[in-house]
Amino acid sequence: MRPASDAVAPVEVPRDKTPHRDTDPGPGGSRSASARLRRRVTRDPLAAGSAAVLLLVTVAALLAPALAPYDPDVVDNSVRLAGPSRDHLMGTDQLGRDILSRLIWGGRVSLITAVVPATVALVAGSVLGILAGYVGGWVDTTVMRVVDTLMSFPYILLAMGIAAALGPGLFNAMLAVTVVTIPIFARLIRAAVLSIKESEFILAAQGLGASGWTTVRRHVVPNTLSIMVVYGTLQTGRMVIAAASLSFLGLGVQPPTADWGAMLASGQASLRVAPHVSTVPGLTIFVVTLAFNVLGEAVRDALDPRYVGDLDAKAAA
């Protein structure tokens, strides 16, 4: 038994006889991610504006039949290329069709061609990414070689190539955009999985006896969700442009269906006399894409600092 050291000053401090209890939950108690997001969206004008824009576009697209003042396909040669007026708030195109109505109906197409491929690509890409990242080995190598090959082509060019090969049409356009986007998500999610795999909690799960499948399901996937949401949102913006580009070139939906990219294309001939025919849809594409990007960043900021409530590490002053 070591004698009480005489070098340590005998400090008469009463012993803590209470049971070992932590009654306060410690530092942090940080606001949840959704609260942070809400705060960002309401305070930051850019984020608020973007959320409003996207909300508007979505609602307009859903309520198109009720909202659009005119039938988008109705041709009226008497009012061709008319500028904005009380009758036609955004004017008419070269066939006398109301631009506002076409914009609203076109919103449906544009949103679908952006959101559906984004979602499908996200799911497919994530599955591949998780597989490659977690399983590793030859699975990883195979998947990543395919991904690398696809990614060595410029995004839009590859989409155009696939769409052209498949032929025009809405479905083919969506397919092309999906295929081109899957590798992006696969690579992203794989990177996230690789870093999660190094965490001690994964080791702990294995030590508890969790099978690979259980570990992936309960630990890996929930921890990649935030990345998926963020980059899904950001990528959707990019896909609005991709879809518009395809239909601009005549590869997407076919006329007479209203679509922003097609509207942009058809207004080219009359750019000098009636610029609004192209600029209105063009501006819309721009604003919607920007809105997705800004919102995506706001979401990333809200979800990113998972440890923001953890100040033990940060406040090591």
Binding site: M1, R2, S5, D6, A7, V8, A9, P19, H20, R21, D22, T23, P25, G26, P27, G28, G29, S30, S199, E200, F201, L203, A204, A205, Q206, G207, L208, G209, A210, S211, T214, R218, H219, P222, N223, L225, R306, Y307, V308, G309, D310, D312, A313
Partner: protein
């Protein structure tokens, strides 16, 4: 025979990271045994391989060579599936309270996970058991729905301990469980570990670089250097009458406990001119830094000698280096 864990000639080698050739012999021939209810402290500086020992014994790594017997059964080559039921009896507490808990799970889910994996309880029983465990580790049971980031480091370690105890293990492997905590919180967690060890009669393999900490939780202590155990004895002996020059140097290097002791004793006993972590090719791996190394140390790897009852040291000249003044050692 009450030996719960027997490790015999354990080796774990990793492929060398940089030069691409050769291996890193993280664990290079370790043997020890832990009885049921006994706490063995494994002490050493960074790079000595102690964490690797912990993880290999836990079978998170596959041993390169040697044998591990747990509860009488040879677990050296078992697959993950075969290990699964054994992990009920042998659990681990990890070093980093910030990354050893899944940030996406609530406390209940975290502590209840082992119960869920091993399908031992109904959900209702699980909840009850979780509450029981939280009380055991001194956490307020009303916190069950909070997430790890809402807790302090010390509390997170308690959650980790609760999780490790969920299935009533017989052996707890602790890998630097308090190193990442503030000093004022370390004592809390160490006291908790002491009490849990006593009341539940657990065996411990307690790995740490901090000599003072190990002293309070262990019955016996093994000192590691570059993949080998260089000395092992009961805790009082190691701290008051160490025999191996490295152990003596370690103890001597600990800062004084009171300013009046400054300069009273020789402190940095090791040759500062050592080459970085390159082990010598032959003989005792400590010889380049050892204050008493001689020719035989250069040629012959020292065997374990019994230098006292229950006290072994791997040295050709045990007990001959400058004794660390023990007046203020931890």
């Amino acid at each position: 025979m009450t030996e719960l864990l027997v490790v015999d000639g354990l080796h774990k080698h990793f492929p060398a990271p940089r030069r691409g050739v050769g291996t890193v012999r993280a664990v290079d021939g370790i043997s020890f045994a832990i009885d049921a209810g006994e706490a063995l402290g494994l002490v050493g500086e960074s790079g000595c391989g102690k964490s690797t020992v912990a993880r290999t014994v836990m079978r998170l790594y596959q041993p390169t060579d040697g044998r591990i017997r747990f509860a009488g059964r040879d677990i050296t080559r078992l697959s993950r599936r075969e290990m699964r039921p054994l992990w009920r009896d042998m659990q681990m507490v990890y070093q980093d309270p910030y990354s050893s808990l899944d940030p996406r799970m609530t406390v209940t889910e975290l502590v209840g996970e082992p119960l869920r994996i091993h399908r031992r309880h109904t959900p209702f029983d699980r909840r009850r058991r979780v509450v029981e465990l939280l009380e055991l580790v001194g956490l307020d049971p009303t916190f069950t729905h909070r997430y790890p980031h809402e807790f302090s480091g010390g509390q997170r370690q308690r959650i980790g301990i609760a999780r490790a105890l969920a299935l009533d293990p017989r052996l707890l492997i602790l890998d630097e469980p308090v190193s990442a905590l503030d000093v004022s919180v370390q004592a809390q967690v160490l006291n908790l570990l002491r009490s849990v060890q006593k009341t539940l009669g657990l065996a411990f393999l307690f790995v740490s670089h901090d000599l003072a900490v190990v002293r309070h939780v262990s019955h016996r202590v093994a000192v590691m250097y570059l993949g080998r155990i260089v000395e092992m004895a009961d805790v009082e002996t190691v701290y008051s009458a160490p025999s191996h020059p490295y152990t003596r140097a370690l103890l001597a290097a600990v800062p004084v406990q009171h300013p009046s002791e400054r300069g009273r004793r020789p402190r940095a006993l090791l040759d500062p001119g050592r080459r970085d972590a390159d082990e010598p090719a032959s003989g005792c791996r400590f010889r380049d830094r050892c204050p008493v190394s001689t020719a035989v140390c250069r040629d012959v790897d020292p065997p374990y000698r019994l230098v006292g009852p229950g006290h072994v040291a791997a040295c050709h000249h045990p007990g001959t280096s400058e004794p660390a003044m023990t007046g203020a050692t931890p």
